[in-house]
């Protein structure tokens, strides 16, 4: 399949004078698990609403597997969606909701659906009005994964799930990836994104600020370095890429390193090094780097 699962071109959405999404150019190739990050109000949900044709772009376009996102009859044949805040018809039971979504939706793998119901420990006999937030989310997740649609658009799908269910969710994403399906995952659970995503896009104030693989993102960001010296420690203050230099009471030197490590390493090796440890940043630290204060 040559067409990318998702492609947007200068996708823009303004509400009055407020710009919710500003010229988004994004391509998610088929088969990729893509994480979409950003603080509240950055435009993640707006992007998803535009991709699904729930909202109309002010300008720009979006395609799902090459068909216009506004042509929902064609585009939605190939995707399944889990909204951030799942609202169900309160009088329908879970089984009836799945029946409805399966009958109207792009097809359903009933055996896989039954298996997912079991794995997510979902009681389908209750009316949806009696479900907790997490159970409503599970209904939507089961319905989405069971379609075997080639694209899954998941908006904060695990915000109401307990750790056991979150593990099941990661398993289901892994199975989808193994099937060659594409996953577009919007999440604040950075550990989850780190665990399942191939690539990550970072959105800030309606603009895409970075798209990279998780290892590449790490490389671009601060690595924490701790070095111990037998003799006096070298002066690292003016070395490019080095920041937050701290001298510990035990003679250890702590600093952060951004970009190519060569210059800093040359300075360090000139002194008498007894121990070096380096720690890569977590996605959370990268995220905070983009948006706010260090932890």
């Amino acid at each position: 399949m040559s067409a990318p699962a998702i492609r947007t071109e200068a996708l823009t959405k303004r509400y009055g004078t407020v710009s919710a999404l500003d010229g988004l150019d994004l391509t998610v190739p088929a088969g990729e698990v893509f994480g979409f990050l950003g603080p509240n109000g950055a435009g993640k949900s707006t992007t998803i609403r535009l991709l699904l044709g729930l909202a109309r772009p002010t300008s720009g376009r979006a395609w799902i597997f090459g068909s216009d996102a506004a042509d929902v009859a064609a585009a939605h044949q190939r995707l399944a969606y889990v909204p951030a805040d799942v609202a169900l018809w309160p009088r329908l039971t879970g089984a009836e909701v799945l029946e409805l979504l399966g009958a109207v939706g792009p097809g359903v793998d009933r055996a896989y659906r039954d298996e997912l119901v079991r794995r997510f420990a979902l009681d389908l006999s209750k009316p949806a009005g009696a479900y907790s937030t997490g159970n409503r989310q599970k209904v939507a997740l089961v319905a989405a994964f069971a379609t075997r649609a080639p694209l899954l658009v998941l908006d904060e799908p695990t915000s109401g799930l307990d750790p056991l269910m979150e593990r099941e969710f990661r398993r289901a994403v892994a199975e989808a990836r193994a099937d060659g399906r594409t996953v577009f995952l919007c999440s604040h659970q950075l550990a989850e994104v780190e665990a399942v995503c191939d690539r990550v896009g970072i959105l800030r104030a309606g603009k895409l600020v970075d798209v990279a693989t998780v290892p590449d993102l790490r490389a671009l960001h601060r690595t924490e370095v701790l070095v111990r010296f037998a003799g006096p420690a070298p002066d690292l203050r003016d070395v490019p890429g080095v920041g937050a230099v701290e001298r510990g009471a035990d003679g250890a030197l702590r600093f952060t390193l951004t970009g190519p490590p060569g210059p800093a390493l040359r300075q360090i090796t000139a002194a008498d090094v007894t121990a070096v440890s380096m720690r890569e940043p977590t996605l959370e630290e990268i995220f905070l780097d983009y948006y706010g204060e260090q932890p």
């Binding site: 729930l54 909202a55 089984a95």
Partner: protein, 531 residues
Amino acid sequence: MSAALAGRAVTRLAARQIQRGGLIVVAVTAGMSALVAATYASTMGTEADAAALAALAGNPAIRTLFGEPVALDTPGGFTVWRTGTVLAVLLSVWGLLAVTRTTRGEEEAGRWSLLLAGRLGVRAVLGRHLLVLAGVMGAVGVAVTGALVAAGTPAAGAVRHGAGLALAGLFAVALAALAAQVFPTRAGATGATVAVLGVGLLARMVGDGVAALAWLRWLSPFGLLALTRPYLDDRSLPLVVLAAGAVVVGAAAIVLAGRRDVGGGLVAGTAGRPPRRLLLGSVPRFALRRLLRPLAGWAAGVGAYFLLIGVLATSMTRFLADNPRFAELAAQAGFAGLSSVRGYAATLFALLAVPVGTFAAVRLGAFAAAEADRRLTLLYALPVTRRRLLGAEALTVVAGSVVLLAVAAVATWAGAASVGADLPLAAALAGTLNVLPVVLLCAGAAVLALGWVPRAVAGVGALPAAGGFLLQVVADSVGAPAWVAHLSPFAHLAAVPATGVNWPAALTMIVLALVAAALGVAGHQRRDLIG
């Protein structure tokens, strides 16, 4: 924040949610009362003779349908007879909908969890919502009394009528609050309250019509309102009973509010049940599934009312044939041709456009509400176009409206047949289907609103029927210029089955409805979904 401040904040919240509707209700009740009373001299004249009035007051059919006529030879008495029941029903319906929306509806939507995590308990919060609505009803009473006194009617009658309307509204508010404690959903609470008040209205009608059952009126808010007999006896005891009833029911609601879980009702929701897979397989089937339950409720109400209309057919027509003066008066008030069975049926079938048009508007309003609280999001994310979702919904609602019209026809026919009145089923069906263009106008207006002002679907949709009917009543009662009356769709309805269908008018309305619907579909297609 102190408890007093918290209480004031909740009161302000309650007031904000009902202020617009409250102002409209006060203006409409006071305005209609003042208008009819002030123009009494020009419509009635002063020559109505006592014998004819006595005949009118004695006729069971007149009493059943329009209430017991009292003191029609005075502007005040005429106003009470002409507008009293309509305004009491309007106030009750607004009041009960306001209660279930601002209490059970907010609780169901989860917003009360946030509110109740604050300083005030559920009793205090409910109490403050009820006090605010009681304030609106009080304002209605003061405004109606003031309007009637200003129109020159005696103060004693004006006070009784104003207080009666306010207390009838208050009773509906209290009853809805009680139902909102018993039932865990807004729809359940609304349905139960409407059912109880509907039975109350029927009790008033039967009590007015059948002397042996006159005591039934003491059990109904509308009956108690009639028993005060403003401008003739000016009784106070029925008002005391009504006030006591409202206070007892309201107090029960507040007591019960403390004995249930937040989010739950006294009637527990079902814990679990096997799936019912019928009518889930496609978008139109699902639209039908959601329609069936409300349709059954509306059909029961409409059927009961029109069965009664049918049963009364002969006694009503005989009376009007014997009393031409009243046929003339009724014609002036918009009820022409009442003296033949077909004319009588045609006149009352025209009324049918109001409930059925409102049904269409309310159902499409529920579709917009489902969009607003995101229940439709999962459906919109399926490979179904917006046009198909809206089209299936609108067609299902129109089909449901046709069913209601057919139910009314069959009920009237059955009632008329039971008293031997000459109304064939085909004639009854022709008569009820004659109002279909007005119902389509309502559906068209609702779809138009869904496309462009999705938060006002039910109101805009009900406008052609409810607004058109009020316009016609007022225009007829005050002798407004012809062009004003002609704005109402009711001015263009032929008296089917007494005469043939006014095809040019019917086709014009259908075309207007289709244009409105097409504009609505286009608007719905291009806008963002709400919620």
